[in-house]
């Protein structure tokens, strides 16, 4: 053999071209990545005779539609594909069908382009120059380009349609012949009602699944080792959806590929049996799988569902029923089957209460029939009224809340009908207590869905857009009702202000660490306002000021507070401009940065100025606020030694039930830890170690964050708030560890519990196996009830353990409250909230 590794010149040329490819004219081309400039460039193309204009690139988003940023905080541009353009053109609302079929692609994933089912024929040029590219192109991966003429399965051009149809049909037949086995030969979990996307595609394109079937198909085997998921390699079409689900969505990096040719298959770790691999059994691969290759063994059944369906007004809802509803059209059928116990149907009668203002909740209501009144009143007292001692119980304190059956809901502000689609979504989407009471006005029907279903609904762009619109509209309406600086105004003035602002406010979402504005930025350019006024709806914002090169944290502000007014007011002559240094007139005096996921209500600068000039009382109030802030922020007046920096760095602002140890009183006897262990059957939910602030130790125990990160993404919604503040992990936890991964404070731990299961699966033998489950501090509510003190505090003999919110801790540390000063202080500190 010659020394030269290349056998011929073509191969050498091929190698030399490397990453390059040739276009239809044989010219060497290469794919250039999308840039930020492409966000504003329009691309107009024709799909099946209809013209659509899309942006050349869009920011890359995660599976939930949140924009991803790189390490520098910049968005990552992604080219708009032909499939995206077709979706924009044909899928206007949930349930609309895209004429381009997909199999290896899902809208919430990055395209892999491995199945070629989404092929389209593309023509370029017009008139005499119009010609096809020759090859059919995968629309999921191919970028949309100006002047493209795209023909899909539904094209009006017979020749193109037949060409695409023929190609898709053959591809489908090839896949079906190898991987679409008769149902009796597939995985045991596959029932007659399972939906196989390949099977559906065969029906859609009229393919013959046995056309290429060989007499002796290769048996690639099954993996039945897992007690949750069954793997049938024979049904796997190697579409990579499970791999992308594991790697890109859940970031677990367990599923990959092994083997070559006919023996190629998906593999867990280094082709280990699933049970022995590092797979956490989150089920994401299974719900992403378009065939029967990955199936669940048994659906998840929660206590919530079991309790509800036992009541006469509730009934179970089958996945088929859900799938027929347009809203659920984009949701994986396997997900609906697996989590069928996350949805119940409720028949309502006149006067039935769906939810009450002030309660925490983990469900939303899809309105099927009837009318529902939305009432705003005084939120009823929380269940967290603090501990009730022996005498409290004797005299009836802590018994059922008096207003549980109250019919005084406040003022009716609106009526909702099935046209409005959904109610109660705000609590699920932003973890805030219910903002209104909803009462049935006549007989009706709702579907009560849990957070995990809502979460998966948001993966579908059409459903997400719909939910987002509803959410933003209601969030703004709700915020306008509760604006703090309107409190001093008369009823008429407040009404006028709200009406003035009604169409002038915008809801913004800001990521943690993102700057809202920086110190020194101008709020006007020429005569145009470029700076705005902000009100915090959710989350916290840090205000910092740099003086002589040193950054100081001035304050942090949370919900219902506002910022950005100083620069705007200083532009208006004779208000506060004489109190602001000349160099800072109409400029930001501080930097505002989001501390967590923040929702802001923005009033544009010009509208804010108009509001201020129009309403004198408001103007005077803001002038007073600004003067007070400016005075406070003068270096000579600022309190020194306030540990705000450390407080914010440790995320304490978000905490509502910190377990705080006074280290001057604590004898390190560990009674708190032992009591926690004794109360929870030997599984401790606190570690007496953690961050320190002043003389206090913030122990590692659930903080009941205002915006709990742990609740995001639980595939079976086993972790949530149950009416009150505490985070509860229910028994149907599948042990995937998502919540533990999400908690930035390490306060959720995974423990192995013995459960009796059929093991090995399908053997008929019952055996105790260890199943991982997440545990966290539930403030002992599930063990001792809501009227009792938390065990760790209750069992501390030295009066050294307290439960308090982050702001209360800050008050104590900064000397504004005394831990042992008076009984009232002690009482609120000792109470769970």
């Amino acid at each position: 053999m010659a020394d030269n590794a290349y056998e011929d010149a073509t191969a050498q040329l091929w190698e030399a071209e490397g990453l390059f490819s040739r276009d239809v004219d044989g010219q060497l081309i290469r794919v250039v990545s999308a840039t930020e400039q492409d966000y504003v460039k329009d691309v107009t193309l024709t799909i099946d005779g209809q013209t659509v204009t899309v942006k050349k690139a869009v920011p890359t988003t995660d599976s939930q539609g949140n924009v991803i940023t790189d390490q520098e905080g910049k968005t990552i541009p992604r080219s708009t594909t032909i499939y995206d353009a077709a979706a924009k053109l044909f899928v206007r609302k949930p349930g609309d069908v895209n004429p381009i079929p997909i199999l290896c692609h899902q809208e919430h994933m990055n395209p892999a382009g491995v199945c070629r089912i989404c092929v389209v024929e593309v023509f370029r040029g017009t008139g005499d120059k119009r010609r096809s590219g020759g090859k059919l192109l995968p629309s999921c991966a191919h970028r949309a380009e100006p002047g493209m003429e795209v023909h899909t399965l539904a094209s009006t051009d017979d020749k193109s349609r037949k060409r695409v149809q023929s190609c898709v049909k053959v591809l489908t037949e090839l896949l079906a012949s190898d991987h679409l086995r008769p149902k009796e030969n597939t995985a045991p979990a596959r029932d007659k009602d399972t939906q196989n996307e390949l099977e559906a595609l065969v029906e859609r394109v009229g393919a013959n699944p046995t056309r290429f079937t060989s007499g002796s198909p290769v048996d690639r085997g099954r993996d039945n080792s897992s007690i949750l998921i069954s793997v049938d390699h024979n049904s796997c079409i190697l579409c990579n959806r499970c791999i992308r689900a594991c790697d890109e969505i859940k970031k677990n990096f367990v599923v990959g590929r092994a083997g070559k040719g006919y023996t190629a298959k998906i593999a867990f770790d280094l082709d280990d049996p699933m049970e022995e691999s590092s797979c956490v059994s989150c089920g994401e691969c299974m719900v992403s799988c378009p065939t029967d290759a990955l199936t669940f063994r048994r659906p998840v059944v929660s206590d919530w569902w079991t309790e509800l369906v036992a009541k006469p007004e509730y009934t179970a809802v089958s996945p088929e029923e859900l799938k027929k509803m347009p809203l659920f059209a984009g949701v994986s059928y396997k997900f609906l089957q697996w989590n069928s116990a996350s949805v119940v149907r409720r028949k309502t009668k006149k006067g039935d209460v769906l939810c009450r203002q002030g309660d925490y909740g983990a469900t939303a209501f899809i309105l099927n029939a009837g009318e529902f009144g939305v009432y705003i009143g005084t939120p009823r007292k929380s269940a967290d009224e603090g501990p009730v001692g022996f005498f409290g119980r004797l005299f009836g304190r802590g018994a059922k809340r008096a207003d549980d059956n109250s019919t005084d809901y406040g003022t009716q502000v609106s009526t909702r009908t099935p046209e409005h689609l959904i109610l109660g979504e705000m609590t699920c989407m932003s973890d805030v207590p219910r903002t209104a009471t909803v009462v049935a006005m006549n007989d009706g029907e709702v579907l009560e869905i849990r957070r995990n279903v809502l979460y998966v609904l948001q993966r579908n762009p059409a459903a997400r857009k719909l939910l987002d619109t509803v959410y933003k509209e209601r969030a703004l309406q709700d915020h306008l009702r509760t604006i703090s600086f309107f409190q001093d105004l008369s009823r008429e003035e407040r009404h006028d202000c709200v009406e003035f602002l009604r169409d002038k406010v915008t809801l913004l979402r800001v990521d943690p660490g993102q700057n809202i504005f920086r110190q020194g930025e101008a709020v006007v350019q020429g005569d145009e306002f470029v700076g705005h006024f902000y009100m915090v709806r959710l989350g916290y914002v840090k205000i910092t000021q740099t003086l002589h090169g040193t950054e100081r944290v001035l304050d942090y502000i949370g919900p219902n507070r506002h910022f950005g007014e100083i620069a705007l007011l200083s532009k208006i002559p004779n208000l506060i401009d004489q109190h602001v240094p000349e160099s800072l007139v109409a400029r930001r005096t501080a930097t505002c940065t989001a501390l967590d996921d923040v929702e802001l209500v923005r009033i544009r600068g010009e509208h804010f100025s108009e509001l201020i000039l129009r309403f004198e009382k408001l103007r005077n109030k803001f002038v007073q606020i600004c003067k007070s802030h400016l005075d406070q922020n003068k270096p000579v007046n600022r309190e020194m030694g306030l540990p705000l920096g450390g407080f914010l760095d440790q995320g304490l602002f978000n905490a509502q039930t910190l377990l705080v140890m006074d280290l001057e009183s604590c004898t390190r006897c560990d009674e708190c830890t032992r009591a926690c262990s004794d109360t929870h059957g030997g599984i401790v939910r606190l570690i007496r170690e953690g961050q320190r602030i002043d003389k206090f130790l913030v122990a590692s125990s659930c903080r009941s964050c205002q915006d709990p990160y742990c609740l995001v993404g639980c595939p079976v919604d086993s972790i949530h708030r149950k009416g009150s503040l505490e985070i509860v992990i229910e028994d149907h936890c599948i042990g995937c560890g998502q919540c533990a991964k999400n908690c930035p404070y390490g306060n959720i731990n995974m423990h192995g519990f013995d459960v009796v299961r059929e093991y090995p699966p399908d053997s008929g033998c019952q055996k105790a196996v260890i199943q991982q489950k997440a545990t966290t501090c539930d403030l002992c509510r599930q063990v001792v009830g809501s009227s009792q003190e938390v065990s760790c505090v209750y069992s501390c003999p030295h009066n050294a353990a307290f439960r308090m919110s982050g702001s209360e801790l800050l008050k104590i540390v900064s000397g504004k409250a005394d831990l042992h000063a008076d009984k009232s202080t002690r009482q609120f500190l000792s109470h769970p909230v």
Binding site: L663, T667, E671, Y794, P797
Partner: protein
């Protein structure tokens, strides 16, 4: 439980109760003595008997603190309430029992009982006094404090870090190099810090990730690790093997200059003088480990003083309870 200074506010009512009952008991006792023209009524007198029964009941109640603490998940009143009651009722028994005794020792049984009582009270007060000062001292003097039961494990981790730093700085010992030339890698060479180790961050090793709570970083000490051994560092290995490693392993149980902060500073100053400046950051990290060991030793001592008195207080209390019942039986039998 803290009762001094600003914490006294929590105890004000209990102190008032203590004073009121003591005053009532003293007044009743001497009033009865005056009314019956008796000098000092004994335990068999009506006021003595009443005070004895009261004192005995309180002692029984005091002993109930033990089962209360064992049955932590039971809701019998908060532990701090029990502790406050334990302290103030315990102190209340002193005047009550003193009055009950009529200020006399009595027979051998009552003398032993009185001595036991005095020892129980003294040990309890000793414990209370310790609790007033030692937690604060621990807070100030042992900022690196960890959970008591985890001290040895934490120290083992620090020792492993220090050992890896020395190996990275000094390279393999000569005998290991010679042995590795002829045979399989030695155990020591296998323990060289791996490049893939997750504790390494871009040529730096994290030593003593103090109070790191998951993603929220605590005080971290990142030490640059030499990529190749630093020349003339054999003295560091020798000192490490002879002095530093035994101290990190055994702490003050090993007589070492490192157990004293001043002498330790001098030890490291001398070592720094003979070492290449490139190794100085490593030396600082090892010095930090020694400081951690010293603080853990101090924490151990303070922990002992905070809790060891219970080993006297508890058995004596049980003995007191048993003898108290014997005393009651004997007193009633021979009354």
């Amino acid at each position: 439980m803290l009762i001094l200074r600003k914490h006294f506010a929590v105890h004000r009512k209990w102190f008032a109760m203590f004073l009121a009952i003591t005053a009532a008991a003293v007044f009743g006792y001497f009033y009865w003595a005056h009314a019956h023209a008796t000098r000092l009524p004994g335990g068999s007198s009506p006021p003595g008997l009443i005070l004895g029964i009261l004192g005995g009941a309180i002692i029984i109640f005091e002993c109930l603190l033990w089962p209360r603490r064992m049955l932590r998940s039971w809701r019998w009143g908060s532990a701090r309430l029990w502790m406050k009651a334990h302290i103030w009722f315990g102190l209340l028994t002193v005047p009550l029992i003193l009055l009950h005794s009529g200020f006399m020792w009595g027979g051998w049984l009552s003398t032993i009982l009185a001595l036991l009582f005095a020892m129980v009270i003294a040990s309890g007060i000793f414990g209370l006094v310790m609790q007033q000062f030692l937690p604060r001292r621990m807070l100030i003097d042992t900022p690196l404090e960890t959970i008591y039961s985890q001290i040895e494990q934490t120290m083992q981790m620090a020792l492993a870090d220090a050992r890896n730093l020395v190996l990275a700085t000094c390279g393999l010992p000569k005998e290991s190099l010679e042995a590795s030339a002829h045979s399989q890698p030695s155990k020591e060479s296998r323990s060289l810090p791996s490049k893939s180790s997750d504790r390494r961050e871009g040529g730096r090793v994290v030593v003593g990730a103090i109070r790191q709570a998951e993603l929220i970083p605590g005080q971290l000490l990142r030490v640059p690790v030499p990529q190749v051994p630093v020349p003339n560092c054999e003295v560091l290995r020798q000192k490490f093997n002879a002095t530093i490693q035994p101290f990190l392993e055994r702490g003050r149980r090993f007589r070492s200059p490192l157990s004293n902060r001043t002498r330790s500073a001098e030890f490291f100053r001398q070592l720094r003088a003979v070492l290449d400046p490139e190794a100085h950051s490593i030396l600082e990290a090892i010095e930090e480990c020694c400081e951690q060991r010293r603080q853990f030793d101090l924490q151990t001592r303070l922990h002992w003083w905070l809790h060891s008195w219970l080993w006297i207080h508890l058995p004596l209390s049980m003995a007191l309870l048993v003898l108290m019942f014997v005393h009651a039986y004997v007193a009633l039998k021979y009354w």
